[in-house]
Symmetry: C2
Subunit: 579 residues, 2 copies
């Protein structure tokens, strides 16, 4: 496998040139003292070094060793302990944390770039820190002051880690039917009983304590998803000094044997009168947990992009070195590097064009979240909400496809473990499934984010993009305005259909919107090119990759337009027995 | 996992109603005494029973145990020995063999249906018998009488098995640069030296001997692929009585650790002065091996379809039982089976519509091969040649996609080993890669099968289909003629481009032709429905699945038309450093 090299140039291009976030940061009171171009570069380059040198080279070993349950305790790949400690000591677990509780207060746009690198290096490893960051976001927003003061500093410092405990064996996407219960105890805490499955980082010894955020039902809970409450259930109950003391009644029932992310301990956790503390209002737990889930959903996008970037680099390295077949007529019998073959270039460009658009998209969504947070800007918040399911579903679908395509470039060697490509395929696959399957994301997008407000947020965004594209036209992207016009028409027809038809079209509509928005990402990238800032080679690479995107990738969207123009009724005509 | 049930009704529908092969068989001297409807049913139903009861239930165990190298010997999953013996004893290894040497002489259309079932049951296991059948085809066509008489009966009976040894570590798609040598020995045999990799079924103890078909270069060989000869190199040299005697100098260097098909022993084989026998003319080995490879390429299609069928059945079973979410308003809090969800139905129908078209397509291609063989019909031979890369590439691409989609229906449970879905994804992946990657197939299709004769075979086929569709129009398929007209125009523009541009468009063009031909498969299926032969439920299921195909799947081809209408030049503008 090639040595992973963090795509630093492209990260800077997106942060500083495409979205000019350094200018935005300098205008925000909460950020101007925290982050600027120099801090960003220091952070990105140090993170790159860690990912490249300490994590990425060992991801195959982590896959091989995997997480194991030994005498009721979870054992992780050995080197995970060393690198987790190194991340904690370097302050990386505090990167996006609130400064009031010891966090570094970095904007999401920056931490998301670090996320991508961590995911390129080892998705399974990235989850321990990622889940903790998500749990902190939920606590910061919904816990009381005392809880925050006790837990957040330890979690930001990396001493303690976090999980989210939602799924039960019979309750996945449908959390309303969960059975885990919470009963108020005499001291004001709660006794939690039940069994949760698929708990990522559910147990391990990387940290001295694990803070589980658990959904459960109170005795007086209304039925369904409006009767779920959120509890903080620590592995060790903190003593008066806030140090881990008494072991809580949480046991690991088993570890799942999975297709991939083997270094991630995916646990069945049993809670037997485990002591927990209510977070937020009773019965409002799902809303609280959604704070964390929305955060996680964006991180899924980073998993897709991270895996795709690593896969691309490996395939590119292989394509430059593997000699096979003759392309030119130079020497009839001397094999040439396969990167000369048209079909190999096609595969590489399909990945490259989508990865670069994906990075621009990730930066965009993260910057919208920052604007929502620091400016309290409702337009930015609405747009971040709109785009979150795209970041989750489309970026992970693209991530998986990129890994499969990159694996294909290796031929038979791609199927063999030693080249690392099959691990990337196995690891990337999960991001399409967990944190709400991509089907759930599409339904969320179509029904809640588009149909619910009659498309107001989406259509306003599209109108704004079209105006921008028409006002400052760029040769390679001339078709974009037409695509947006067609997309507006498709949206209009979907908006007048009933919920069933909207659900039937949700996945394809999400893919269509995503493709067109990736076109806008390429427009933004070309707009940001500047011969004073960028080398000629960089500029022409972007221009030519954009030309490839607009002529050889975006046209596939015509298939989605055609499909969505047809009635979805044939989906419902078969009886169950006829399947 | 659901219990696998062979799709017998659909198999009969394709054999007897869509393609009416029983009528064809009855008119062929070589077949009329061998096969009819009753024999077919006896064979299919017995094969179904073996696959359902003896093979499929244990495929997960085979995946877990895998093939292992112990003290230089390959150990297979234990139950493989029992089922291989049972297949041999039942005459299954002789199914398609030439009667002159002890084969059953069944037509390809029938054996291909059995192949699909074997692949649904366990792809890894199916390879031992599949490779042997392929080796027999090559020997039958190219070996001398003495060799055929010695080897074929033992191979048909299942006592001995076969392999194909092509790839070397530096020579995969590009066989011309191989280094394995053959030197004529004093007794007229040859001494083979070299190392071959990725040899499926390269060693094992299922059979008392293994017949390796090895490509190697003679000392006077011209450079490149025109200097390769084919040798038969047995693991044990037969004695005068034709029984395995002296051990040949072939050793297993190692077993590959793969993404999937773990029960298949993928070997590095070292030949050190191994004794071999020339098959066919010197330097004409690649042509001889292509006899086997073309056979194998069709079998790859069965792997794609077989995996997809199993994946569909599992997902359907799960979708009927898994209760999650509320679809109707009947009872606000009671979860319903997820097959009611529009998006789950969409995923199931995408698989179902492609699987059924795929089965019709497989039967078609096999019947063309039969016509080429028994009628010596050049049109059928040309069409089988044209369609072989589609059967290999498109059917395996669809197979993998079906497995991934079916896995998605399971949500998180699809990622866990115990449900078997992730194994199907891992197992199905290889068929897109081996026996010539799907990129190689597309190049073969575009350059050799279409451009080479200026599209004559393809265009004649399309014209014939269009005439048929227009002469007997069917309501659900009315768009098909338009698609064919557009496809003809696309083909015409590609035919006048240069080889580089054709190569760049090959994959997408293959996909486009395949989609349109799958439309024709649905047309043929609808044409074959008959209320005297089929139940109302069967007829309406076919009609509605076809309606789904024509309105919700085929329209995606518009994306391929659009893509192919653009110049592929942007593919070649980046320098290697700009990737």
């Amino acid at each position: 496998m090639s040595q992973y090299q963090a795509p630093i140039t492209d990260i800077y291009f997106n942060l500083f040139n495409v979205w000019q976030l350094d200018q935005y940061w300098s205008q925000q009171a909460a950020l101007s003292d925290t982050v600027d171009i120099d801090t960003t570069k220091a952070i990105i380059e140090e993170a790159a070094k860690i990912c490249e040198q300490q994590i990425a080279p060992f991801s195959a070993i982590a896959d091989q060793q995997g997480a194991k349950l030994v005498d009721g305790k979870v054992k992780l790949p050995e080197h995970y302990h060393k690198i987790y400690q190194s991340l904690s000591e370097g302050g990386w677990t505090a990167l996006s944390g609130d400064p009031q509780y010891g966090g570094m207060g970095m904007p999401k746009a920056l931490s998301m770039m670090v996320d991508e690198m961590l995911c390129s290096a080892d998705i399974a490893f990235s989850l321990y820190q990622g889940l903790t960051a998500g749990a902190c976001v939920a606590l910061l927003q919904h816990a009381d002051e005392q809880t925050k003061a006790l837990y957040l500093p330890k979690m930001y410092s990396g001493e303690w880690s976090g999980t989210m405990c939602l799924t039960e064996s019979h309750a996945g996407s449908d959390l309303g039917i969960m059975r885990t219960t919470a009963k108020r105890d005499s001291d004001g805490s709660y006794l939690i009983n039940g069994s949760k499955i698929f708990i990522t980082a559910g147990d391990h010894e990387l940290t001295s304590n694990i803070v589980h955020l658990v959904l459960a039902k109170l005795p007086d809970a209304p039925a369904g998803s409006r009767g779920i409450s959120l509890f903080l259930v620590p592995k060790f109950l903190p003593d008066a000094a806030g140090e881990p003391a008494e072991r809580n009644n949480i046991t690991v029932g088993s570890l799942e044997h999975k297709m991939g992310i083997n270094g991630s301990a995916t646990c069945v956790l049993n809670f037997d009168d485990a002591k927990g503390y209510l977070i937020g209002e009773p019965h409002r737990g799902l809303a609280c947990m959604f704070t964390m889930m929305n955060y996680e959903r964006l991180s899924m996008g980073s998993q897709g992009l991270g895996a795709a970037e690593r896969a691309y680099q490996n395939a590119l390295g292989y394509a430059k070195e593997r000699l096979q077949g003759r392309i030119t007529e130079k020497d009839g019998n001397k094999a040439e590097a396969i990167i000369g073959h048209a079909d190999v270039r096609r595969m590489l460009l399909n990945i490259k064009a989508m990865n670069e658009a994906g990075r621009t998209f990730a930066t965009w969504v993260a910057s919208l979240l920052d604007k929502a947070k620091y400016d309290n800007c409702p337009v930015a918040a609405d747009r971040a909400n709109l785009l979150t399911p795209i970041a989750k579903a489309f970026m992970t679908d693209q991530g998986f496809e990129a890994c499969v395509t990159a694996q294909q470039i290796f031929g038979g060697h791609g199927y063999i473990k030693e080249w690392g490509m099959e691990q990337l395929v196995r690891d990337a696959r999960i991001a399409q499934i967990y944190e709400g399957t991509n089907g759930i994301q599409a339904a969320d997008f179509m029904l809640r984010k588009v149909a619910h407000d009659q498309g107001v947020v989406l259509l306003a965004l599209l109108a704004e993009i079209k105006a921008e594209v028409l006002a400052k036209p760029i040769a390679q992207c001339l078709v974009l305005a037409d695509y947006i016009t067609k997309l507006e028409a498709t949206a209009a027809t979907l908006l007048v259909r009933n919920t069933r038809a909207q659900s039937a079209n949700a996945c394809d509509f999400l893919a269509l919107v995503s493709n067109v928005l990736y076109g806008y990402m390429w427009y933004k990238s070309l707009s940001a090119l500047n011969s004073e800032l960028h080398t000629e080679a960089f500029i022409s690479a972007k221009q030519q990759t954009a030309a490839y995107f607009f002529t050889r990738i975006l046209p596939k969207a015509e298939g989605l337009f055609a499909l969505l123009s047809h009635d979805s009724a044939p989906l419902d005509t078969l009886t169950i027995d006829q399947f």
